[in-house]
Amino acid sequence: MNTNMMRFSFSSQSRNEAFARVTVASFVSQLDPTMDELTEIKTVVSEAVTNSIIHGYNSDPDQMITIICALSDDEVELIIQDEGVGIPDVEEAMEPLYTSKPDLERSGMGFTIMENFMDHVYVHSREGEGTTVTMNKQFNRSKAMSQ
C-alpha cells in the first residue's frame, strides 16, 4: 500500500487557521479530491483548530496545536491535537447546538459539521491534558459511483 504522511505544529493564533487549512488541503490534494470535497476538509480543519484555540487554550496565543495527516490510496486520516483544558463530557460536547461559550456567539455546531463532512470522528479528551480529534474520510466515492 501507498502511504504518505505529514505532521505540523503551529502557535494557537487565529491567523494560523488559514495556514492550517492550506497545509492540510494542499497535502490532501495529492489524492485528487473534487473541489467540494476539498472545501469540506478545509471547513473541518477550521472548526477543529478554532476549537483548540478558543476552548482548548482560552485564546492564549502562545500554545501549540499539532495536525497529523496520513494518506493511503483514496483515504485520509486527520488528527488535530491540543494540550489545552480538555473536555469534561465529550458526549455532551458533541451534541448539536451544545456550546460552553454562548457568550462568544458560538453556534455549537463544530462537532456536528465535522461528523457531517467526515466518515468517522473520534474525540479523545482528558481534563487538564488536552484534546485529540481523529477523523477519517474516503474520497472519490461519488465520482466512482457516477461512472
Binding site: 488559514a18 492550506v22 488541503a25 490534494s29 495529492q30 485528487d32 479530491p33 473541489m35 472519490n140 457516477s146
Partner: protein
C-alpha cells in the same frame, strides 16, 4: 507621507496577495466552466491541468483570495 508612498508603491508592485487573487479568479472561472462541461464538480487535478498550475498552488491561491487585501493592512496598521 511615508504611508502614502507605501500605499502607492504597494498598489503598483506585484504583491503576493494581489497575484494570488488573480489566480484565484481564474480558478473560480475554470471551476464554473468545467462544472458545466462535465456535469459535476471537477477534481482539483482537472482544474490544475487546465490552468497549468500545481494543485498545491491552486489551494494556496484560493485561500489567499479570502483574506483581507494587504492594502488595508498597509494603510491602517
Amino acid at each position: 507621507i511615508g504611508e502614502i508612498q507605501r500605499f502607492i508603491r504597494d498598489d503598483g508592485s506585484l504583491k503576493v496577495s494581489r497575484s494570488l487573487k488573480e489566480t484565484a479568479n481564474k480558478v473560480r472561472k475554470k471551476k464554473e466552466e468545467l462544472t458545466k462541461e462535465l456535469n459535476r464538480v471537477p477534481t482539483i487535478q482537472e482544474i490544475a491541468k487546465e490552468l497549468e498550475l500545481s494543485p498545491e498552488d491552486i489551494v494556496h491561491a484560493e485561500e489567499a483570495a479570502k483574506l483581507p487585501h494587504s492594502i488595508h493592512e498597509t494603510v491602517f496598521e
